[in-house]
Amino acid sequence: MSDSAPSGESKTRMPHFDIKIMGPAIALVLLCILGYVLNPAFVSEGNITNLLTRSSFIGIIAVGATFVITAGGIDLSVGSMAAVIAGIMIIVMNSAVGTFGTGVTTVLIGAGCSVILGLGAGWINGFLTTKGKIEAFIVTLGTMGIYRSLVTYFADGGTLSLDFAIRGTYRPIYYDSFAGLPVPVWMFILVSAVGWILLNRTAFGRYCMAIGSNEAVAKYSAINVDRIKTMTYVIQGLCVSLATIIYVPRLGSASSSTGVLWELEAIAAVIIGGTVLKGGYGRVGGTILGALILTTIGNILNFTDLISNYLNGTMQGLIIIIAVWLQRGEWGRSKRIKKAE
């Protein structure tokens, strides 16, 4: 939670700013080169497609997290929320099969249910944070535990599986491509585009940054701080529900281990992308790159057996730290910064 970044930025703004914009992109390119060197199959079309599709889940969730964090909040519940929404979707669709058959209607009912749950869960987080005046960390830590245990409960500790009859109808949402890109990737692109516009081109986005930057200023500017903050959690919930809609057809199941640690991944993607954890400055574009970087690291580690499996976590940790360090552009600049201060 160092705010060295923004303060550094404030001093030697122009060059630093550029590096901040470019940083995550450079880190991603370096990673891809590393992947290619380790194993040329890394750049095969199939692998790139896999990579993009996998990034979609975390990416979509992280776009939502960008809003929450920009407005100075945090949401730890997203992984559990995804699990419980997936679980309920499956239950609902399985029981809808009886009435509505195995057609598109049932899938739409499932998706609608997911969206409603996502919005509702997000609203609960927002309401408790703003009106209940409880720290976002505590609220979402609490709901994280609640959702996780609810999905375990619904699944009776095991796995909720989507009725095989409906899978055929739903499968294409994950497995089919459109114009060369899998549907989840399109969804990711869509969410990113909307998210980018919302954050950078609407009053709402500015309000998020203003609130994250200085709540009092936002308040005195006649901004309804509580409403905007709640909205960020609702957006986060919506993003989780969209991610869940493309997640469920993949394996057609949900269990208590679904979405474990997605919250940390999503937050990490946001921060790697250059958004400031303490709020006030958010970048959807960076978040997208952050999600791609995280997925690529995992992917690269599956592509090599140079290091012990047990050390995967070490590699992952090191690469994340190095990637962020590289993208901060602090190398060789420490002197200049010091001077500027």
Binding site: S10, M209, A210, G280, Y281, E341
Partner: protein
Amino acid sequence: MQGQSDSVPILAADRISKSFGSVPVLFSVSFDIRGGEVHALIGENGAGKSTLMKILSGIHEPTSGSIRLDGRNVDLPPNGQAEALGIVLIHQELNLAEQLTVEENFFLGRELTRNGLLDRAKMSTSVREHLQAIGLDISPDDRISDLSIAEKQMVEIVKAISRNARVLIMDEPTAVLTEAETALLFKQIERLKQQGVAIVFVSHKLAEVKAIADQITILRDGQLIATKPAQELTPDAMAQMMVGRELSDLFPPLIEPDIDAERVLQVQGLFAKGVHNISFELRQGEILGFAGLVGAGRTAVFEAICGISQMDGGDVRLKGQPVHFSSVAAARDAGMVYLTKDRKEKGLLLKQQMGINLTLLSLPKFVRHHLLNARQERDALERAIRRFDIRVRDHGVLAGDMSGGNQQKLLLAKVMEADPAIVIIDEPTRGIDVGTKQQIYHFIAALATEGVSIVLISSEMPEMIGMCHRVAVMREGRITGILTGDDINENEIVRYAAGLKKAGDDERLSA
């Protein structure tokens, strides 16, 4: 425009009282604002001016009393929503989001949109126009955190002016401005007046008040003292009504330091970011002024010397010994401290209490057996409150809740707590009332007599002229001249500061 003053007031406060918790701050104050009129509000630090202004713009709710808008009783909506009613407030505390750009702040809360999306081109153009209209060289894309305080204040002012207010309330808009910028502001005020806007102007600069105000209201300790037409009051009369006693000379008599006094600080060929080849000397017991326009690099010089920022080259000697402070702590331990001009961002912890702020810089002094000595700290607070006449009704108050002037006094007290041998004070009297200013000037003079060497950075010309033994003038990162004796006058300073004259022009100056 004078004729309009007998029309119905646009905004009127009727017997307003206000308490924070159990602490009363305003006592049954009435106050009228009419269109086309500048109504100045003056009073000592902590008199309740800002509080009254916040009540008139809906930020605070009065504890009792009523507010009338166009003759009708209203409950003003909270949180700046009163802007919709045409009441715009320029906060004394800068009210800008640091991480956002000028344009983003400018339109915060009332963005222009087209089809639901921000019309950035239009907003940007509008901001640029407004900035240019007043003559400011700031880009709409600049981040607030990159601006100087004066620039921030100008952005606030321009932002408020652009809002087409019926009532424009300005709480000490000129405290951080130079005379040139103040002139810009006054031109705008005149223009707005012509348009029938009602303007409330809070300031401690009584000459300004005299120059711009039509009506003057004086507050003392939360009580309404008088409301009078400006013609009837001289600055001296205002000062007297504010503090409730006769004020003697503002500036103490200057006692020249011993001509053989030790040269405690010698700077030769200093380079740092924004400053070039700075050389000067400071003698024991001397008050050396640093004058110049905003951004001339005065602050930068001393931030580099005191270890706050990096020095790129040059030689600094303290009592003849070469020194290179790599940290503020090192400078402090060597007896040199710097009082920042930016009390909100760099000076005080706004969410902490007075006592914690007071001792922060000199904390090692309060350590006994590795522990902080609470009694000693409490004593220091009591002493500082007396010595600097800090007026708070509750010693547990958070620094951010203190009145602006009292914050400034607390900051001064904090720096003095370090018992410096050399003290650099940057804009020490910002937002300070005349009575207190006088105390501070006497205090500085007394320090000098005791042998403390002082660098006084100030944009207030009278302060330079009235207080300093010598004045160094800076322009664009260079010292253009060092004035002594009778040369310390407004004319000379301005000529050096504006670059019309350089040290080379006159050998006598390079002390």
